[in-house]
Symmetry: C2
Subunit: 309 residues, 2 copies
């Protein structure tokens, strides 16, 4: 599923939003999980069933409103094999619903090992000549600390299988500055990484004007986003940090190009667990939270003269 499809869906749904699916069993509503605890006890199996039902419910509630979902694999790994079965179900279910699935895995290793990660998530695994998909996603997040020979392995599969990736450039957390903001010859590391990403982008621009090789740029640093927008004109930005992490619509307009495209903004807890604040059922609360977020972002884009629809 190409970047072309993602951009088309953003326009059709008027919604540059990705819903992060980071389940925490303690925050899943009682009406979802209690029956599984009753049946399976306090076990990983019970968690698996609760995660699957909850995520399917969220996907059903928002799939007509957003172009993409982003499961964060850490919140499935912590529930072991059973958690990863829920992860796999979630990715496959979102695919059935026509959503772009961003696997937030932040992998990265030396070449042959990155190749294995790439095969696992966006490529194919060879078994004695038979090709299988270990896990399904349309795109993955990748950590650049090991350099180009790590990224290259993903790029190969992106080209072969029409997939995408998002390279960590400037993350949304406070201590991202420790490494990412260090200056080399007057330029920050995050800018250097942005230039590295841009090199890959320039070679892979698709008909929508963007590359399937994007960048993670935190919503929490608007000035950095402005600079990075210029460094990587053809990269889509995956923007974490909206909502629970503190950023709002006006903070993220710098992540978008003048055409109103070029960024997709993530919110996880702010959508999936919106019910905790509103008292509505969790699906209605998630749906309303998406609509509120969409209107906030679209309003901010219109104010900034960056209308895309």
């Amino acid at each position: 599923m190409s970047i072309n499809y993602l951009v088309e869906q953003i326009k059709v749904k008027k919604s540059p939003i990705v819903v992060g699916l980071d389940p925490r069993i303690e925050q899943i509503p009682a009406e979802v999980k209690d029956k599984y605890f009753a049946e399976y006890g306090n076990t990983l199996e019970a968690v698996m069933h609760a995660l699957i039902e909850f995520n399917r419910g969220i996907i059903d509630a928002v799939s007509d409103l957003v172009p993409a979902v982003k499961p964060q694999i850490a919140f499935y790994e912590k529930y072991g094999i059973e958690g990863l079965l829920a992860y796999k179900d979630t990715c496959n279910y979102a695919k059935e619903k026509g959503l772009h699935v961003i696997a937030d895995i932040k992998r990265g290793d030396i070449g042959s090992t990155s190749k294995a990660y790439s095969e696992a998530h966006i490529g194919q695994t060879d078994i004695n000549g038979t090709k299988v998909s270990a896990f399904f996603s349309d795109s993955v997040t990748v950590n650049p600390y090991l350099g180009d020979d790590c990224l290259k392995e993903f790029v190969d599969d992106i080209k072969t299988f029409d997939k995408g990736m998002w390279v960590l450039v400037k993350t949304s957390n406070k201590s991202s500055e420790q490494l990412q903001n260090l200056k080399v010859d007057g330029e920050t590391i995050y800018k250097k990484v942005g230039e590295l990403v841009n090199n890959w982008c320039e070679q892979t621009i698709q008909s929508c004007g963007y590359s399937p090789i994007g960048a993670v740029v935190g919503a929490t640093f608007p000035e950095e986003a402005d600079l990075l927008r210029a460094v990587m004109p053809h990269a889509y930005f995956l923007v974490p940090g909206y909502g629970a992490q503190g950023a709002s619509g006006k903070d993220i307009v710098n992540c978008f190009n003048e055409d109103g495209l070029g960024a997709i903004v993530n919110s996880s807890r702010g959508i999936t667990f919106a019910y905790e604040k509103t008292g509505e059922d969790y699906k209605t609360a998630a749906r309303n939270a998406v609509i509120e977020m969409r209107d906030d972002i679209n309003g901010a884009l219109i104010s900034a003269g960056k209308k895309y629809f």
Copy 2:
């Protein structure tokens, strides 16, 4: 299992070696895998059985010779849920044999997500008040690109559960230089990361004189290793790059302190698939490869006046 136990086992076994368990189904001997392909076809299930049998065979062959094994999780993820079942079996089997298990996962994310990874691999997962271990390991590799609030989450579990971690400082691959060798005020990024690691080390030194917070320092860069040894005197180094990646005993002596301790050297393919070159059965070949590597490294350490046994 503390760093104290790892150091003790290195001395007892006279072997600062970790065997990397990075299975590739195409390299697993026919006598292991063919019966599973016959029974299950070209499926992930067949791969799972082959990986489990192969890894147990390697562990049986080397467990009296080495203190540790290091499964690289990418080579299990690529075989999906079934691959991760083999990963889990491998970690648990190695634990039964008294080996220190290094989970080579290279995870790292914002605080709350790193916490989930830490719980998954070295901590515990809470299910409605019941504590479970999703995956077992004694220590994990961690990517520092997101800074201290990522590392901190692992440090908390290291203290609580007597575990360890290895922070990527200078990796063994060629393109590691793209980011890691950039200079900030005349100092490389890898040195800056080394200083960051040393801050955590100084707070956590155990009775053996070392901290459970170590560093990944590639065998392929002896000069960098020399510099980093001085930056992090109390950090154990996990040293990849020996054997298949090109480094030999003389290249890695700089990773060790004057006491002959402070480093554990990994070899993966060079041991597990040694049978391809020697024509022996795979267990005998792996055992002989470990002995050869041990004698090479111990010889180099003695020549350098760094005898530890």
